[in-house]
Amino acid sequence: MSEAAYTQILNICAGFFLLAAVGMLSRRQFAGMIRLYAAQGLALAAIVTVLGIREGSVELLAAAVGLVILRVLVLPALARRALGAALHNRRETSPAVSIAGSLLASAALVLVAYAVARPLIALDPSATTAVLPIALSVVLIGLFALTTRHNALSQVIGFLLLDNGITATAFLATSGVPLIVELGVSFDVLLIVVVLTLLTVRLQAMFGTTDLDGLRELRD
């Protein structure tokens, strides 16, 4: 793959990766958010595939397959299962920041990510690390969703977004951390989502809603 083609393909994949994150902020319907999350998983796998082809690394190509299985198939399926429990509120009803505000904030977060990433790019300027700010933007957007959304399922999706951003950072900066760590991390993330899904189901059973505004008993 020529340098120019590599840069272009990588940038396109990263563009879709960021677009999916912003798209998730703009949605109120959970079903749409989960579809966008699966699409973002595909974009992430595409980024890793492009890196793998460029470096001729079988390990990275295998990691891309693993990413598709976990983030395009398994995790969205789990999120849909939690959604099944929350039949009556399939929408985020009460975000602390309105949708329009969220979109403006995500634009600001992208700028912040570019500022933060400057030392990272300075350490090793290349076409690959030039995309790092995109990955960090998704980390920040995920944190933003996690803190401003008040529905259990929205928070799960915020956490998944955060995790996608971190995974993208890991692959772009270092072609992935060592395999054993990567496996441990993926397993942990899977378990966290299982735990959150179980808790969502129990919340629904006990509170009759997954809206966390009902969770106000413990406070000082």
Binding site: V116, P119, L120, A122, L123, D124, V139, L143, L146, A152, Q155, F159, L162, D163, I166, T169, A170, A173, T174, V177, P178, I180, V181, G184, V185, F187, D188, L191, I192, V195, L196, L199, R202, L203, M206, F207, L212, L215, E217, L218, D220
Partner: protein, 491 residues
């Protein structure tokens, strides 16, 4: 020898978990109960041998560097094993005294042992990736222990706990990824770049700008698991809702295990970017944590939450000691880990019995005149509170004094003054509430309370005896503490 010692420490709780899973937890002296307590005792013995071994021969690594035992891990393992043994012992009584179902008891037994296993791996990790996976595993396992009672509030606490801690620890992972990035560009190969020993040895070659961001994120993330601000909101909820023996483990050791991870990152940062960077960050975290804890203690009406905020106060003090960073300061911090761990374990176990006596009400005002109604329980809880407040001969007295003196010597006199002013506020709040609980006049006629049984009181007494022993004679561990401080680069 090395391999056996390290793998035994991890295998013991796993075996106990398997036995609990197969045999179930039927009565106080069932197979599962016996194996759980037995495994905890053996773990303690293993930790003692390992501590002697590493002080004689220096650090040992196994499994290609993934696991490592040095003086710091040996000390932390010793604390984990001691408190796990006490909490496990108390679990026998907790499960016997009115546990709902056999299924629930079995689940409790398995999760409890897995929790201990995850902490064992976390303190014995030689690789930052393994450390991360182990600390994250503690979140996953304890989430189910926090929601064990299946009440609305327990569920609410578990949700907050998982969301805040897993997001925080994800941020810490981003930090670890960036350390790996800096290390690869400093010429370390992929096996070494997350290896803690290799990283500290070559820390001077890491890019300072990238390392600053990386360490900042890692300390923020692991700091959240240690109950430091700004991501501390989960702590009072989770610690007050979990079953008493689990609260004891979470508050007594899990916080310190996460804090020990912060010390490991500090060792890298001090060489890579100079000691001023983390000193400033830790000072801010320490004073802010102390301030939040003191303010919320002043208005506290719930005694389990009171104990939780007191944990934040103590972790704030540890962060202050770490900011001072001298060998004396770190040794005092590590002694404080043990002192606070033991005292908080006894206090939470006592609070569990008090909660049981008062029909599940954790309001301070519901528990008046405890000392007259049940002198043994009241006395043990009172002694644990006095130990937490820093009265001698408990080890907390020696370690708080050590942190203050070392902080002053390191030129942080003003911070020490502010910190101890906040500790004084917390002291006033804690002693008034404890006074009300123990000596206050009951609102109605004083109902006689059933006395605390010998089996239930034994772990509490053992904890207090250990605490006083550690406070009066610390020479057996002095050498280990100094060696542990040296491991994380304190001079």
């Amino acid at each position: 020898m090395d391999t056996v010692l390290i793998f035994t420490a991890i295998a013991l709780p796993l075996v106990a978990a398997a036995v609990c899973g197969i045999a179930g937890w039927r009565s106080t002296v069932g197979v599962a109960g016996a194996s759980a307590v037995g495994a905890a005792g053996l773990l303690l013995a293993d930790a003692l041998v390992l501590a002697v071994h590493v002080t004689r021969t220096g650090p040992v690594t196994v499994a290609g560097g993934l696991l490592r035992a040095d003086a710091l891990s040996a000390w932390m393992l010793l604390v984990v094993a001691t408190i796990a043994a006490l909490a496990c012992w108390a679990s026998l009584d907790y499960l016997a005294a009115g546990h709902p179902s056999r299924h629930g008891a079995r689940r409790y037994g398995v999760l409890f042992q897995l929790f201990v296993a995850a902490m064992t791996v976390a303190v014995l990790a030689g690789n930052l990736g393994v450390l991360w996976v182990a600390v994250e595993a503690t979140t996953i396992v304890t989430a189910f222990l926090v929601s064990h009672r299946r009440t609305r509030t327990a569920l609410e606490a578990a949700w907050k706990y998982v969301v805040i801690c897993s997001a925080a620890i994800a941020i810490a992972f981003l930090g670890i990824v960036l350390i790996y990035y800096a290390a690869r560009h400093a010429g370390l190969d992929s096996h070494q770049a997350l290896d803690w020993a290799a990283l500290t040895a070559h820390a001077d070659r890491l890019d300072p700008a990238v390392t600053k961001i990386a360490i900042g994120l890692a300390v923020l993330g692991f700091g959240a698991k240690a109950g430091l601000v700004p991501l501390h909101a989960w702590l009072p909820d989770a610690h007050s809702q979990a079953p008493a023996p689990v609260s004891a483990l979470m508050s007594g050791v899990l916080l310190s295990v996460a804090f020990a991870a912060v010390l490991r990152f500090k060792a890298i940062a001090d060489v890579a970017v100079g000691p001023a960077f983390l000193r400033t960050m830790l000072l801010i975290l320490a004073l802010a944590t102390l301030a939040v804890a003191a303010v919320l203690l002043l208005g506290q009406r719930d005694y389990k939450r009171m104990l939780a905020y007191s944990s934040m106060e103590h972790l704030g003090l540890m962060a202050l000691g770490a900011a001072a960073g001298t060998r004396l300061a770190i040794a005092a911090v590590l002694l404080h880990v043990a002192g606070h761990g033991l005292a908080k374990t006894v206090a939470f176990l006592g609070a569990g019995h008090i909660l049981h006596l008062h029909g599940g009400s954790s309001q301070v005002t519901a528990v008046r005149g405890l000392a007259a109604r049940t002198p043994l329980l009241g006395g043990l809880f009172g002694l644990a509170m006095l130990a937490l407040l820093g009265f001698p001969p408990a080890a907390v007295f020696a370690s708080e004094l050590g942190i203050a003196v070392a902080g002053g010597a390191a030129g942080l006199g003003w911070a020490v003054a502010v910190a101890f002013a906040l500790v004084l506020l917390a002291f006033i709040a804690l002693i008034t509430r404890t006074g009300t609980m123990l000596l206050g006049t009951p609102a109605g006629p004083a109902e006689p309370a059933p006395p605390l049984g010998v089996a239930a009181a034994a772990p509490l007494v053992a904890g207090l005896v250990l605490l006083a022993a550690l406070g009066t004679a610390r020479w057996p561990v002095e050498h280990l503490l100094t060696a542990a401080a040296a491991v994380v680069g304190a001079s």
